[in-house]
């Protein structure tokens, strides 16, 4: 009760102080409001001729108008509109009306009547179209007013018969956006009955102007988007428009047909010129397939894209899209695909050395050859060979979608996708590799297909090679020859591009674990063992040998008979590789060897259980920590120390929880530091005596600050609760800093300014985490905010005192863990830092250093990730990589492949520079305070001045050392 009373007192007290603060900006706004419309009015009155008026209007349009004054402006504009004789000015006014009714916070229903009135008197078609556009805007602004909608629709219907295409366009648009399903409208002539929106719109499918036809189709699509069920009658009309002369009509018609095929897939339509009937979706599929060989590439793209989403089509039709009967001189010829398949089936592989190998065989009956493919025939064959790569990409994507839903189709389209690996545009090649990977669950590659796939391994583009490695990870192959072939090609790849090492190893890991039985017969050959003779021990550092071992060991994991084939040195190598490349080499049960690695059992045991137990452990340790009530409690420090150690180890063991564990550990370390700083006896000492202790405390405060930035920006998946906690710690650190400043330095001005700054920080904290405040009961901030009114008025010295006591009294804030929390990490793959050969270059010139790094869990790396180069003399450069240097090979994973330029003055001998990656952050861009979009009504000036944004960088990768040697330039 007492506290409550106290609060009240302070509240009353505070009012006096704050009034002058708030009043000033509000006044400013109010002054500017009437001036806007008044100025416009004066301007328009001043205008002697239409050009002047137009100029004024144009100028006026550049400036925003506040919501309150919109209506006044609209009145003035309308007034002028009635007087104006010039069309262009009226047009501009009409467009301004539309613009103004979009203003946030302004409800345009008051100007509807006026707008409709103007419409009836207007003679110029252009202005009419613009006015209808304005009505459209108004209509969309007021979605919950059926009466208004009905009125607008009536208006649109009345003007549909205008002779100018623009007016008809806008009317149709209006009908599409506002027309209603259930309410019939409009009277056709007298007493012809009521008609609904759809049939009215569909009347304009046959309009003489292609733009109106397009608008009609678009309006219909709009109706569909708004959830109206389109009648099936439209289908025939839409199909007819597929053969329109104009591409935009055809393009819209394709969409329309698609929509209808999704709505009525199962209804039956007759085939013209025969009495058969087929499903509508099949018919539509056939018709859209036809459009893949349209004359306009826009339509082709549209059609190809659309095909991909027609999953209900019958398999019979689907397979026709890949059908292409070949003939030569009227004799049936087999396609290369068929020949390859046959060769494979007959056991013979890769002939094709003869001329006329593809000689046509059987004679074709001329009547059966269907040249114009009716229906779906060969749509994808066309699409994949199209001139424009946009069409090809669209076709590849469509293939992917269809193949994912139909395994048999996936099998069939394999050949075509493999063919696309040879496209001249890299993007298409890459896309088709990705697609193949996505459907690879359905397929098993034949030897000849694998051969073609593997040929791409020699591609000079790293993206292509890596995509291919990824593909091979997921591929099933059929025979042991395939494995051998793949291994051979991968080794060749490794030889040609040594930088692909990791990717190749990873690929072989999956290849091995997927096909243990196929690898088994190859083992003696692969390890070059001999039944009688000892073979020389291979070089352990040879990447190729490691690659082979990775393949074998991963296969051996699920094939217990395999280790029997190993020779002695293989076991030794296993032990070595298991240690050095543990992510590639699985634990094996080897005969005569104990399972020494306790760690392995964790890995091989039921994974989920161990994660759960680890999670439990994490939670328990956090709970334990939360028992610390007071920072000065005895034993608290030891407990924190222990918990931090535990958590760090847990993070190492359980990779899934590494992020969370690290996060907690860092947070606890902050608390520990704070605790230590506060426990110093310095607080009781006189100022001059405790200079030394002061230094450690200051350092601790500084460190806490840094750690909080790490906590905030290095981890992804934080919720606002955690961010609040982090900010809270930061606030504590700042308070500590303030206290320390007060104790050490005597300058009063400095103290006052830092006090003010601190108070600002507290305020902004309150503003940012208003919703989180209830969770922060009893914490430092809570107490602080209670005292806030007093704080803002009191003297700095008093403030410092309050802070000091609050700091020491406040308890430990418990950390709640979010669901998923990940630490941003970066690994520099290249340069490896192992090279002893210095990079030599002439001083004053530059040398390019290739950097290849993988980034995990980094949000928006294009803007945040930087490369830092540290020279031995302490100079450091920060380089911003280009946005194009980042690729995204997987979710939460980025890859940075870039070049940094080094330069320095001449050195006498080679030395090492350090390269590391930095994560840049700026406190103003906190993930939570994403600046809300400013409307017209809000002025930038009215916003409170942003707190001084703290910008900085966090190193988040290990530094790599590179040997360089700038030589003096020769004269």
């Amino acid at each position: 009760m007492a506290a409550h009373l106290k609060k009240r007192v302070y509240e009353e007290f505070s009012k006096v102080v704050q009034i002058p603060h708030e009043e000033t900006p509000a006044k400013k706004l109010r002054l500017s409001k009437p001036s806007k419309s008044a100025a416009l009015h004066i301007d328009l009155c001043k205008a002697t001729n239409s050009t002047d008026a137009l100029q004024y209007l144009l100028q006026f349009a550049r400036k925003p108008v506040e919501a309150e004054s919109v209506e006044g402006v609209v009145r003035i504009l309308l007034e002028h509109y009635y007087k104006e004789t010039d069309n262009s000015v009226r047009l501009k006014i009409a467009s301004l009306l539309g613009l103004l009714s979009k203003t946030q916070g302004f409800s345009p229903d008051c100007i509807v009547d006026d707008a409709i009135n103007t419409l009836s008197n207007e003679k110029s078609h252009q202005v009419l179209a613009q006015l209808l556009d304005t009505l459209l805007v108004i209509g969309t602004q007021l979605p919950e007013s059926p009466a208004l909608r009905l009125r607008l629709v009536e208006v649109a219907y009345k003007h549909l018969s205008d002779t100018y295409f623009g007016v008809r366009n806008k009317c149709l648009q209006l009908l599409g956006c506002l027309g209603m399903v259930d309410a019939p409208l409009g009277k056709e002539n007298e007493g012809a009955g009521l008609r609904d929106v759809q049939s009215i719109i569909s009347d304009y499918f046959g309009d003489q102007d292609p733009r109106v036809r397009t608008a009609a189709l678009k309006a219909m699509l709009q109706l569909h988007e708004r959830g109206m069920k389109i009648h099936q009658i439209i289908y025939d009309q839409a199909c007819r428009l597929l053969t329109d002369d104009y591409e935009q009509v055809r393009s819209a018609a394709v969409q329309m047909v698609w929509v209808l095929s999704q709505l009525y897939p199962e209804s039956i339509v007759p085939i013209p010129s025969s009495n058969e009937e087929i499903r509508l979706v099949d018919d539509a599929f056939g018709k859209i397939s036809h459009m893949v060989s349209d004359g306009s590439w826009m339509v082709r793209v549209q059609a190809a894209k659309t095909l991909g989403s027609m999953l209900q089509v019958s398999p019979h039709f689907l397979e026709q899209t890949l059908d292409k009967k070949l003939m030569s001189d009227l004799r049936r010829k087999r396609t290369a695909h068929e020949r390859a398949k046959e060769l494979f089936a007959s056991g013979e592989f890769s002939s094709g050395r003869k001329w006329a190998d593809d000689a046509p065989k059987e004679k074709l009956d001329t009547n059966t050859v269907n040249l114009i493919a009716s229906g779906a025939c060969g749509a994808f064959v066309h699409g994949l060979e199209d001139e424009m790569f946009e069409v090809r990409i669209a076709a590849v994507e469509a293939l992917c979608q269809l193949a994912r839903s139909s395994p048999s189709f996936a099998e069939k389209c394999l050949d075509f996708l493999v063919d696309m690996f040879n496209d001249e545009i890299e993007e298409v090649r890459l896309q088709s590799i990705h697609v193949l990977r996505e459907i690879s669950t359905h397929i098993t590659l034949r030897e000849d297909q694998l051969d073609t796939v593997l040929a791409v391994l020699e591609d000079s583009s790293r993206d292509i090679r890596e995509a291919l490695h990824e593909l091979l990870c997921y591929t099933n192959v059929s025979t042991k020859e395939c494995i051998q072939l793949a291994l051979l090609e991968l080794l060749k790849n490794l030889n040609k591009y040594p930088t692909d090492r990791n990717s190749v190893w990873k690929c072989l890991k999956f290849l091995g674990s997927r096909h243990p039985t196929l690898v088994l017969p190859l083992v003696p050959e692969l390890l070059s063992t001999h039944p009688y003779f000892d073979t020389p021990e291979p070089d352990m550092d040879d990447p190729a040998y490691i690659a082979v071992l990775v393949l074998v060991f991963n296969a051996a994991k699920s094939c217990p008979t395999m280790p029997a084939l190993f020779s002695d040195h293989t076991f030794r190598h296993y032990a070595y590789l298991r240690d050095s490349l543990s992510h590639l080499v699985p634990p094996l049960r080897l005969p005569g060897r104990k399972q020494v690695y306790g760690l392995d059992s964790v890995d091989s045991g039921p994974g989920s259980g161990s994660v759960e137990s680890a999670q439990l452990f994490l939670q328990q340790s956090l709970n334990r920590v939360s028992t610390i009530q007071n920072l000065e409690a005895p034993g608290a420090q030891d407990l924190l120390d222990l918990t931090i150690r535990d958590l760090l180890r847990l993070g190492e063991l359980q990779t899934e929880l590494a992020g969370a564990a690290d996060f907690c550990a860092t947070y606890l370390r902050c608390q520990l530091l704070l605790m230590k700083a506060l426990q110093e006896k310095l607080w009781n000492m006189a100022v001059p005596l405790c200079l030394k202790q002061n230094v450690t405390a200051t350092a601790a405060a500084q460190q806490i600050l840094e750690e909080t930035y790490k906590l905030e920006f290095l981890y992804s998946g934080l919720e606002s609760r955690q961010v609040a906690t982090i900010h809270h710690v930061r606030l504590q650190a700042k308070a500590l800093q303030l206290v320390l400043t007060a104790r050490t330095r005597q300058g009063l001005d400095l103290l006052i300014s830092s006090c003010e700054k601190f108070l600002q920080d507290v305020e902004s904290f309150q503003r940012l985490f208003l919703t989180e405040l209830p969770h922060l009961q009893d914490s430092f901030v809570d107490k602080l905010l209670e005292l806030m009114p007093r704080l803002s008025s009191c003297k700095p010295v008093e403030l410092v005192k309050i802070l000091q006591t609050t700091l020491r009294q406040s308890g430990l804030l418990q950390l709640r863990l979010p669901e998923q929390i990940h630490r941003a990490t970066a690994t520099i793959i290249e340069p490896t830092g192992e090279s002893d050969n210095p990079l030599r270059f002439t001083s004053g010139l530059v040398v390019a250093l290739d950097i290849d790094a993988t980034l995990e869990h980094v949000q928006d790396p294009q803007n945040t990730v930087k490369v830092q180069v540290l020279y031995p003399d302490g100079q450091s450069h920060v380089i911003h990589p280009k946005p194009g240097d980042f690729r995204k090979p997987g979710p939460h994973r980025h890859r940075l492949i870039t070049q940094v330029y080094l330069s320095h003055t001449a050195w006498t001998e080679p030395s090492q520079i350090e390269v590391r990656l930095l994560l840049a952050y700026s406190s103003s861009s906190t993930s939570l305070t994403s600046p809300s979009k400013l409307g017209w009504s809000e002025n930038l000036e009215s916003l409170p001045p942003a707190e001084a944004a703290v910008e900085g960088t966090i190193p988040f990768s290990k530094a790599v050392k590179v040997f360089i040697m700038p030589k003096p330039a020769r004269r």
């Binding site: 002779t163 003939m327 396609t335 050395r353 040249l371 001139e387």
Partner: protein, 619 residues
């Protein structure tokens, strides 16, 4: 009825010597002017005397259009223009104009210098001929004269190949030249808009073939070359200098680039270098990829392909050599072939068709021992591969083009008769349009039904629009009244008043009258009044006036009543109407008759028939 006549002088049911005459709307146009590879006598060139026995061609031809630079499409051009004599315009695209003289000069050299023929065109003639050429741009409409206009479309096939759309008035013809509907590594696919010509003249080289996807072919080719190079073998690719050679170069160049290969590729020099220069220049005529990337790097500036020198053939290590000519019958390709034939690691890839009798043909047929001149025999140990890289549209492609252009008639040239027959049947079946395949010298006549454009006065149009319905329905024809004036070769539709005014004529009113007799005991005035009231009750919404001078006027129809002289009971009704309101009157007439029935039941049938007969006569 107007007609379009098409007469092939060459390429009618044949390949080679393309030369087609078209007469359209009184204009004569020659499409292509090629030579035949198979003949060395007069049959080599088209028979220009067909056009005119003596005298210059200029008087008979309005223009000549060359579709592309292959000799079977332009080989006879200097002969025609300089030796036969033609001074009119010759149209070809920019690349064709640039490259054509190189080929003609080469052709001349071989014929005159090597074979020693006389009476052949000279270098100067080629130059003079090229001076008459007017270059065309794609999609540019060129007005040859007031009525004849031509427009070029992209045709693929080779650099600068074009299809032409020829238009006189509303009649039009499209000539495709050679074209390709599937894009390749350096050229795009042919495209034409829906121009609905009266005749589409299409080549039909592959009328009975549907080809496999180009990707398989390319992949096979690349794989073979790659394997051979990896074995350390040498690869010989005999080519003709232009067209496919560039395609293969691009293919290998990009493959080398992609796969990071180091083995050298050579191109035997000669006219290729000049031609390559033009390929670099005319980037806009190539496909999407080359057009888009040429800013970074022009694809025809080969990085891996270097000029070949004779001595390189003996260099150790793998290499790829492009050498001319394509059939291994002479020249550099044969020399290299002889050198490399002995090693089984080497390979020769024939990218095209070989004529019987050439070494190319022999080795393709599996002959392993070749007899050379001087009784020497050559053991062929190297591998022989065949790869087809042709740039003509296949049957499907031709059908696709027809669907794009939607012609009213189809005419096939540049193909074998048997094959054409098949395609003709297919076209007629699928599109139900007429298809022709004239032989050389045979004339095909197609009658057209051109629409005759007529100017219409705006006032008249507006007036008619105001009369009926809100909007003209584009799908339905509408009738309207007006006067057609033919004056000095132009047609004009105007309202009749204006026509009268323009022609200086007086307006004559034509009125029809009709007498109806009926039995009515009332007085004249009474009868009239009764008719008036009756009409008034029946015809609502029409202006019916009863004038004091004893007439009733319904709209513009006048009704008068008078008693007959003999019998006052017999009233004679006089109806009078002008020409314009004919239908109206019929109705009124019938009404009056019905009225008269009502008035007097004893009306005789004879009279009725009379009246009806009278009405019919007027009608």
């Amino acid at each position: 009825m107007p007609e379009i006549k098409v007469t092939p002088l060459g390429a009618g049911q044949d390949v080679g010597r393309s030369c087609i005459l078209v007469s359209i709307g009184g204009k004569n146009i020659m499409l292509d002017c090629g030579m035949h590879m198979g003949y060395n006598d007069d049959r080599r060139f088209p028979d220009f005397s067909y056009i005119t026995q003596n005298g210059r061609l200029t008087d008979f031809l309005d223009c000549v259009i060359i579709s592309h630079f292959h000799l079977d499409h332009c080989g006879a051009l200097p002969y025609m223009s300089e030796m036969v004599g033609y001074d009119g315009p010759i149209y070809m695209t920019h690349p064709t104009k640039a490259i054509c003289p190189i080929l003609l000069e080469d052709f001349r050299k071989i014929t005159v210098d090597k074979k020693g023929e006389t009476n052949f065109f000279t270098s100067q003639m080629i130059k003079d001929c090229m001076k008459k050429v007017i270059p065309l741009n794609l999609h540019q409409t060129v007005q040859v004269d007031d009525e004849l206009e031509i427009k070029a479309y992209y045709a693929g096939h080779v650099l600068g190949a074009a299809m032409v759309h020829i238009k006189v008035g509303s009649e039009s013809v499209v000539y495709t030249g050679d074209y390709n509907m599937t894009p390749d590594r350096h050229l795009g696919a042919a495209w034409i808009d829906k121009c609905r010509p009266d005749i589409l003249i299409s080549e039909s080289t592959y009328a009975t073939t549907i080809r496999d996807s180009k990707r398989c072919r390319e992949r096979d080719f690349l794989k073979k070359v790659h394997e051979s190079i990896e074995r350390g073998g040498k690869v010989l690719i005999p080519v003709f200098a232009l067209g496919r050679a560039q395609e293969l170069c691009i293919l290998l160049e990009t493959f080398w680039e992609r796969m990071n290969l180091k083995a050298p590729i050579y191109f035997s020099t000669g006219l290729t270098e000049k031609a390559n220069h033009y390929y670099k220049l005319f980037i806009t005529w190539t496909n999407q990829k080359i057009r888009k990337t040429f800013v970074q790097r022009n694809m025809f500036e080969f990085k891996h392909i270097k000029a070949f020198d004779r001595s390189y053939a003996d260099n150790p290590g793998p290499m790829v050599v492009f050498a001319t000519p394509g059939m291994l019958h002479a020249g550099q390709s044969l020399q290299i072939f002889k050198k490399w034939a002995g090693n089984e690691k080497n390979m020769v890839i024939m990218p095209g068709y070989c004529v019987q009798g050439t070494i190319g043909h022999k080795i393709l047929n599996g002959q392993r021992k070749l007899e050379m001149e001087g009784r020497a025999t050559l053991d062929v140990k190297l591998q022989v591969e065949y790869m087809s890289f042709s740039a003509h549209a296949d049957a499907k492609g031709i059908m696709q083009l027809i669907r794009m252009a939607e012609p009213r008639n189809m005419l096939l040239v540049h193909g074998e008769a048997v094959k054409m027959e098949f395609l003709k049947g297919k076209i007629e079946q699928e599109f139900s349009i007429d298809c022709y395949m004239p032989a050389n010298g045979e004339t095909t006549t197609v009658t057209t039904n051109p629409s005759v454009p007529v100017d219409i006065s705006l006032n008249l149009l507006k007036r008619e629009m105001a009369l009926g319905g809100p909007l003209p329905d584009p799908k339905k024809p509408r009738t309207m009244h007006g006067t057609l004036i033919m004056k000095e070769n132009s047609l004009k539709l105007v309202s009749s008043e204006q026509a009268l005014k323009e022609l200086g004529l007086n307006e004559h009113q034509l009125r029809f009258t009709c007498h109806v007799q009926l039995q009515d005991p009332h007085s004249d005035a009474d009868t009239l009044h009764r008719i008036y009231t009756h009409l008034k009750s029946v015809l609502k919404g029409y202006t019916i006036q009863h004038l004091p001078d004893g007439t009733v006027i319904v709209e513009s129809i006048v009704i008068k009543v008078s008693s007959s002289a003999e019998d006052s009971n017999t009233k004679v009704l006089l109806l009078s109407w002008s020409y314009q309101v004919k239908t109206w009157t019929l109705f009124l007439e019938r009404f009056v008759i019905i009225y008269s029935f009502k008035c007097s039941e004893q009306q005789q049938d004879r009279e009725l028939i009379d009246i009806q007969w009278g009405g019919k006569k007027i009608h």
